[in-house]
């Protein structure tokens, strides 16, 4: 069995996954009114609590640490799919479960007060989930299996 890569699909997947991390990272470089608009637009998708959000040059990005990790992971996922397409095809379900467990543990321990999460733990656990999700999207949009 070999995989045929539809490069147009792969580039499309990568561009789609890159749109959101680029957009949320714009806040330090745009005017203040537009920054408010961007924050308002992402407010329905993320709580944007300042203490739990990344800052660049003292300006808050439009999403929290965990969402930012997810978005950066989504952007990196298509690159992973290039190298591990076979693995993704075989173990997609397991990968999703394995990637979501640390995220839920990090989040859940915070709720029950067992362990307070840090910006790094929120970013990394979000990134893990994001890279798997991005890989699945790229796999779905660009890889076609065909028998030899």
């Amino acid at each position: 069995m070999t995989a045929q890569i539809n490069w147009l699909g792969w580039i499309g997947a990568w561009l789609l996954m890159a749109v959101l991390p680029i957009t949320v990272s714009l806040t330090p470089w745009i005017s203040e009114p537009l920054r408010y608009v961007l924050m308002e637009a992402f407010h329905i998708f993320c709580h944007q609590i300042p203490e739990r959000s990344p800052h660049v040059n003292g300006v808050q990005l439009a999403v929290c640490d965990r969402c930012y990790g997810i978005l950066i992971g989504l952007c990196s996922g298509p690159l992973m799919a290039l190298f591990y397409w076979k693995w993704i095809a075989r173990h997609a379900r397991m990968m999703i479960i394995v990637s979501i467990v640390p995220l839920v543990i990090d989040w859940g321990f915070g709720i029950v007060g067992v362990l307070s999460n840090t910006p790094e733990s929120r970013f990394v656990t979000g990134f893990l989930f994001g890279i798997v999700a991005g890989g699945l999207v790229a796999h779905g949009m660009s890889f076609r299996k065909h028998e030899q």
Binding site: S31, C46, I49, A133, M141, F143, R144, K145
Partner: protein, 174 residues
């Protein structure tokens, strides 16, 4: 292959209701208040807000595979997710307008006034910035919401196709 329209509508609309419910609950409970960031409710909404947008594609794929006892390929899951995400975005915009009407969410004009109160337009020559901001609040937010909804739906669809497998899988089984 059976029609996917019903699943797409169910996934998109259900996710829109979940998303708006979380947004309103977060707003009303004060969980989205920066001063309340350490409350358990705030922490609950922190993850739900991120994940709610993905549920449109997930629900649509789950419903389709469950109803028809078949497995979707990753590509088909992405397609279903895109359309469910579009329905989600339209649904959430309509519901938001309704909630703005009954005063549960701030209107674009109230948002504009909040920006003005922050002093963002105090610089000289800010008239142009004012008009651009007003236009962005009216048209930019719905466009950005639609783009985010479609991308998140697409991701949910890809995840759903990987997780919910019923019956034969033409492309991915080995």
């Amino acid at each position: 292959m059976p029609s996917k329209i019903q699943s797409i509508l169910i996934g998109g609309l259900l996710a829109a209701v979940i998303g708006v419910f979380i947004a309103v609950a977060s707003e009303v409970s004060g969980a989205s208040d920066p001063g309340n960031s350490s409350s358990a409710l705030g922490i609950v909404f922190q993850l739900l807000g991120c994940m709610a947008a993905m549920t449109s594609g997930l629900i649509a794929v789950w419903h389709y595979t469950n109803e028809n006892e078949l497995t979707l390929t990753g590509g088909q899951g992405v397609g279903v997710g895109v359309l469910a995400g579009l329905v989600y975005a339209v649904g959430i915009l309509i519901l938001s307008y309704v909630l703005v009407g009954i005063g549960l969410l701030p209107s674009p004009e109230e948002s504009f006034e909040r920006i003005r109160d922050s002093g963002a337009f105090d610089a000289p020559g800010a008239e142009q910035a004012e008009s651009i901001t007003r236009m962005m609040l009216t048209w930019g937010i719905p466009i950005i919401t639609t783009v985010i909804g479609v991308i998140m739906g697409l991701i949910g669809g890809a995840i759903g196709a990987a997780v919910f497998k019923r019956g034969a899988d033409d492309e991915m089984s080995e």
